[in-house]
């Protein structure tokens, strides 16, 4: 029996879809059967990040209103045989998607897959409620910026009212040089305010943007920091204990000396 995890944040643009795509990919790399569900009706883009846009025939609304069977709408990934995507609808009426419908779909997928990753739309309205309806667990994504942390706090408050496990936190798009200069919130500070368990931290990496444009999740290639971060998170989801990545850049002696002097000022 699989586990349904909703990826949510409240605020838009913090990296929910990127996180969904990469966690899905990283879990698939570890031989897990994974299904990604895009619930952002009207603004679907998980398929674009995964590079599967040209394969879409049916979508989640088609399944809900009965135009096709669930199996027909699932798109098999081009890299893995055990990674699937259920795309969001682009044009259909979004009021067709209901929490009940969502629960049914997730319940149908659970026996088939190890993990079901639900990509939640931004906001706290109907779209959020739909996405959360079928989930057993939740992951809250935030960036080290005040508005984003504020919205994460709001969403954690709402998630606490749901019948799911306490949510876990991913701090995304950390720019180390800004944190060091005090222009960005520190991870510890964010964790203290939100008071939930930290699942992982991901550095802001140009490779992520490149990868999105190529339709190939960054986690697929092992050579970037973001990729390692996502893979580590996936391992933590599987229950391994993996230490947090250090952001100490390898600039060497000089920058360390500089830091030392700037602190003693």
């Amino acid at each position: 029996m699989g586990e349904a995890i909703v990826i949510t944040s409240g605020k838009g643009g913090v990296g929910k879809t990127t996180t969904s795509a990469n966690l899905g990919t990283a879990l698939a790399l570890m031989e897990k059967k994974v299904c990604l569900i895009d619930t952002d009706i009207g603004l679907r883009n998980l398929d674009v990040v995964m590079g599967l846009e040209n394969r879409i025939i049916y979508d989640i609304i088609d399944v809900i209103v009965g135009r096709c069977a669930l199996k027909q709408a699932l798109i098999k990934d081009k890299r893995f045989d055990h990674l699937y995507l259920l795309p969001a609808a682009q044009t259909s009426d979004k009021t067709d998607l209901t929490p009940d419908g969502m629960e049914k779909i997730v319940a149908e997928l659970k026996p088939e897959f190890d993990y079901i990753i639900i990509d939640c739309p931004a906001g706290i309205e109907q779209g959020y409620k739909n996405a959360v309806a079928g989930a057993d667990k939740a992951i809250v994504v935030t960036t080290p910026e005040k508005p984003s942390v504020r919205d994460a706090d709001r969403i954690i408050g709402l998630l606490e009212q749901e019948d799911i496990e306490p949510p876990k936190l991913i701090v995304n798009r950390i720019r180390n040089h800004m944190v060091q200069e005090g222009d960005m919130l520190e991870v510890d500070e964010i964790v203290q305010v939100l008071s939930i368990d930290l699942l992982g931290i991901v550095a802001d990496d140009d490779e992520v943007i490149k990868a999105s444009n190529h339709g190939e999740p960054v986690a697929f290639h092992p050579n970037t920091k973001a990729s390692i971060a996502y893979r580590n998170i996936a391992r933590r989801i599987l229950g391994e204990s993996v230490p947090l990545m250090s952001f100490e850049s390898d600039k060497g002696m000089f920058s360390r000396l500089k830091k030392l002097f700037s602190k003693s000022k």
Binding site: K146, R150, D151, D153, R154, G157, E160, V193, S195
Partner: protein
């Protein structure tokens, strides 16, 4: 009427007249005798109002009955109602009183967009995050970080205080006073307490010890009785 026993006894005191009303007769009988008493005893001096204290004993008056009684007394004579005292209250009023006097302990994190409202004093074991709000009709004590909004003395009790282990709030409100955080970023303070300063007529934050001196009754039950 029950024999010769008087339903209403009038006594003159230093504070004015004191009307003791029998609590065993019906309200109609009471009004009837009151009317007779008022008609019989004319106060001639038309120059100043005389204060009246009404002692109801174990009688409970509904709001309408109270209005009728007051109207009769003030219209017949040059009298002014100073106080109405009854030895009994309704269960509902007693419950409200008890609620007002209680310290409610709550343990949770009040997150952005959430509002925690209590009657009486609030003892919060947890944080109030930015965007979160806690309100109480009495005092607010936060065993945690107060980073959002706290409103003490919500129904107008200006003696209420707001104390926190760590305080860096967006806003502090006490009764109808509001103070907000400065526009520049601040570090916040540990173990301090916000209260209304009578001289400056605004909310100030001071060390706990200093506030205890200014609000000596903060923990006593008498304060609660009076406020209730």
């Amino acid at each position: 009427m029950i024999g010769n026993k008087q339903i209403i006894t009038i006594k003159g005191t230093r504070e004015g007249l004191s009307l003791h009303m029998d609590d065993a007769c019906s309200f109609e009988d009471l009004l009837k005798e009151l009317e007779e008493k008022l008609d019989a005893n004319r106060i001639d001096s038309a120059d100043h109002l005389v204060g009246v204290h009404i002692q109801l004993g174990n009688r409970y008056l509904y709001k309408e009955q109270e209005d009728i009684l007051c109207k009769m007394i003030t219209s017949k004579q040059r009298l002014r109602i100073e106080s109405i005292h009854s030895d009994v209250i309704t269960k509902q009023a007693a419950n409200e009183w008890k609620e007002e006097a209680e310290v409610k302990a709550v343990s949770r994190v009040v997150r952005s967009g959430q509002v925690l409202e209590v009657k009486g004093d609030l003892l919060l074991l947890g944080d109030v995050n930015p965007g979160g709000c806690v309100t109480a009709t009495g005092n607010i004590f936060v065993m945690g970080n107060l980073l959002g909004i706290a409103h003490a003395g919500k129904d107008g009790n200006a003696d209420a205080v707001i104390a926190a282990s760590y305080m860096n709030p967006t806003q502090l409100r006490i009764a109808d006073y509001i103070s907000r955080a400065p526009d520049h970023e601040t570090d916040g303070v540990y173990m301090e307490c916000g209260h209304i300063d009578d001289e400056q007529e605004k909310i100030i934050i001071d060390r706990l010890q200093a506030v205890i001196r200014k609000r000596p009754g903060i923990s006593s039950f008498e304060r609660r009785m009076l406020n209730g």
